[in-house]
């Protein structure tokens, strides 16, 4: 049980170049599951490895329960880590793999056996304890890696994309298992993924990183409802938010000849800028079924039918380069090439500065 604090922590591979992790400030409270998410090269794995002691901390500090761990080797940080590749020890059986961290701490043999048996029971590995890792399926290996982490009862769990080597179905299943396991064990967990769906579904809070810098650290719903900048807005949510650079006109902006009104605070924040980046989520674009009530005209390029809903990928009727994603009803009868009319829910519009990407009010 522990609180983890990143205090201006940086990792600089080559002096002078952009740091891999740039002055990261992050506080993870006791028992929380925090997800670090971002595209590749965003520094999320590096940040995790800094906490694990596998990468040096070049500036700032990282504290676990108030203790600065900059100069503390991995083995003394009381953490457990699940690797993307699982990193199981191939020459050891499942039992020996799971007992390894306990053996390294010279724990009493009986206690070792008991803890391994408990963890195996919890993870459904009891029948596989005497197998070698190569005789296990991907999902089983993943659970052995989890088991090796939980037998330790560490202060902090670190997970580096633990699901990325599983197939889609296993991933969804294991995702909820990890989340419920974490709730039960109440161990502070830092989880790294590039998959924003994993981040949204698992995290108590989510930290979005880009190019080594923290963009936003908030609950999943806040990230979704109030992204601080255009990057977070585009990264969180699937399909991604429609982000359009639109010209100001009157009290709003124009899209395909229609005016979308902007709130007073947004207009004030935008100041004299003549374009604004407007973000609209696919579900906030309403399909104007009869097309009589005006609306923005768009031509459908692709229809993704998911059964309960559908996603229409379309381009503006008068501007081929501007594309939009619209959520439509399930079993839609809209087809490729059809022209549809769209209405924008003005209250659901996000507005960002066109040059900096920062949220306007």
């Amino acid at each position: 049980m522990a609180e983890v604090v990143f205090d201006q922590a940086s990792r600089i591979y080559t002096p002078g170049a952009t740091p891999a992790v740039d002055k990261l400030d992050l506080t993870i409270t006791d028992g929380e599951l925090v997800v670090l998410v971002g595209p590749s090269g965003s520094g999320k794995s590096t940040a995790l490895r800094m906490l694990a002691g596998l990468e040096p901390i070049d500036a700032g500090s990282v504290r676990i329960d108030g203790r600065d761990v900059v100069d503390v080797p991995s083995k003394d940080r009381d953490i457990a880590m699940v690797f993307q590749s699982y990193a199981l020890y191939p020459a050891k059986t499942v039992r020996e793999n799971m007992a390894f961290p306990l053996k390294m701490r010279r724990m009493d043999k009986e206690e070792q056996a008991k803890r391994v048996a408990d963890a195996a029971e919890l993870l459904g590995l009891t029948d596989y304890l005497d197998r070698k890792p190569k005789a296990l399926s991907g999902g089983q290996r993943q659970r052995v890696a989890m088991g090796r982490a939980i037998v330790r009862e560490p202060r902090v769990f670190l997970m580096d994309e633990p699901l990325s080597n599983l197939d889609a179905k296993m991933r969804v299943q294991t995702r909820s298992q990890i989340a419920s396991l974490q709730n039960r064990l109440e161990v502070t967990t830092v989880y790294v993924t590039h998959d924003q769906v994993e981040a949204m579904t698992m995290g108590d809070r989510v930290a979005v990183l880009r190019d080594g810098a923290l963009q936003q650290y908030a609950t999943p719903s806040e990230l979704y409802d109030r992204p601080v900048n255009a990057f977070v807005a585009g990264f969180i949510g699937s399909p991604a938010m429609n982000l359009l650079d639109l010209r100001r006109s009157g009290d709003g902006v124009t899209l395909g000849g229609m005016e979308i009104p902007l709130h007073r605070e947004v207009r004030d924040a935008a100041g004299s800028a003549d374009t604004v980046t407007v973000g609209v989520r696919p579900e906030d674009l309403a399909l104007d079924s009869d097309g009589s009530g005006g609306g923005v005209k768009a031509v459908v390029d692709v229809v993704e039918e998911l059964g309960s809903e559908s996603y229409l990928y379309a381009h503006m009727a008068e501007d081929e380069a501007t594309t939009l994603v619209v959520r439509g009803p399930g079993r839609t009868n809209v087809r490729y090439g059809e022209t549809i009319a769209l209405r924008v829910d003005a209250d659901a519009v996000h507005a960002f500065d066109a040059s900096t990407g920062a949220r306007l009010a």
């Binding site: 694990a52 002691g53 596998l54 080797p73 991995s74 083995k75 953490i79 457990a80 880590m81 690797f83 993307q84 590749s85 990193a87 199981l88 020890y89 191939p90 020459a91 050891k92 390894f100 961290p101 390294m104 701490r105 190569k134 090796r148 330790r152 670190l158």
Partner: protein, 287 residues
């Protein structure tokens, strides 16, 4: 007919291996000394009986075992230490690696000569020169420690081979396992014992088997450094058979010894090769 082009190779192989072997079998049941013409006669298994009754043969067989296993094991240990060193990053690593490999590239006879004269000579040898500040002088290494002198040159030649093999093994070790072990609380020694050695197992097996197969046939080092002497103190089986055949001219006796050695080698090699194939098999099924 598809295999017809291979026939010359088959014929060649039979001519150079099987016919000499059959002839050896024939000689081994003859009493035949080249120094006494007309002495050739059929004696059943008398030669074999005297081979096993020959205490020198037993002594030489023991020498062969000591020389082969001792050299291989010491070369593996030294090679492992050097490989661990070269597996770290330091300035000049490439140069050091090249220098460490060179002994393996030297012709065995030249290497043996180098050890006998440049290094071990009692008057102008470099070893005595280096040890002279510590009070050693004039030690005649080759006659005082004949077997050890031969082994030193063999170990010097074979350490680089073991080093390269084990270095390849070390470099194929997945880094994430080491990282996982560090997070799990393992120190450097625990990582070496718990992860590195099991990972290197099949490389060690391969090195020991290949080294033993080559070193059991050593002739050049013995011939160059000690001539098997003093007496037979440093002779191994190939050298002893050579002595019996070409210095003693006893064709029957040496042929019988050759047959005994071949049979023993086949027995050992069957187990040894099985070990190699098993380790390759394990390597194959793991990936």
């Amino acid at each position: 007919m598809r295999r017809a082009p291979l026939v010359p190779a088959l014929v060649f192989t039979i001519v150079v291996t099987q016919i000499p072997f059959l002839l050896t079998l024939y000689y081994s049941v003859q009493s035949w000394n080249l120094v006494r013409p007309g002495s050739q006669r059929f004696v059943w298994f008398e030669n074999y009986v005297s081979v096993f009754a020959d205490s020198q043969f037993r002594g030489v067989a023991l020498n062969t075992i000591i020389m082969t296993l001792g050299s291989v094991i010491i070369a593996v240990i030294l090679g492992l230490l050097l490989a661990l060193l070269l597996n770290r990053h330091f300035i000049g690593r490439g140069v050091v690696r090249t220098l460490l490999v060179t002994p393996f590239l030297i012709t065995p006879v030249a290497a043996a000569l180098l050890w006998k004269t440049t290094l071990l000579d009692p008057t102008y040898g470099l070893i005595n020169f280096v040890l002279s500040p510590f009070g050693a002088s004039g030690t005649d290494w080759v006659s005082t420690f004949p077997l050890a002198s031969v082994m030193a040159s063999l170990i010097w030649q074979w350490t680089p081979f073991m080093m390269l093999l084990l270095l390849a093994g070390l470099q194929s070790m997945p880094g994430d396992q080491v990282e996982a072990a560090r997070v799990d609380g393992a120190g450097a020694w625990a990582i070496f014992v718990e992860l590195t050695l099991p990972h290197l197992r099949r490389f060690l097996e391969l090195g020991i088997v290949l080294g033993a197969i080559y070193l059991v046939n050593t002739f050049d080092a013995v011939y160059m450094i000690t001539q098997g002497g003093p007496g037979t103190a440093s002779a191994n089986l190939p050298f002893y058979i050579y002595q019996r055949a070409f210095l003693g001219f006893d064709i029957g006796q040496s042929a019988a010894m050759g047959v005994v050695v071949v049979v023993l080698t086949i027995i050992v090699a069957t187990f040894a090769l099985r070990l190699v194939f098993r380790s390759f098999g394990a390597a194959g099924s793991e990936s």
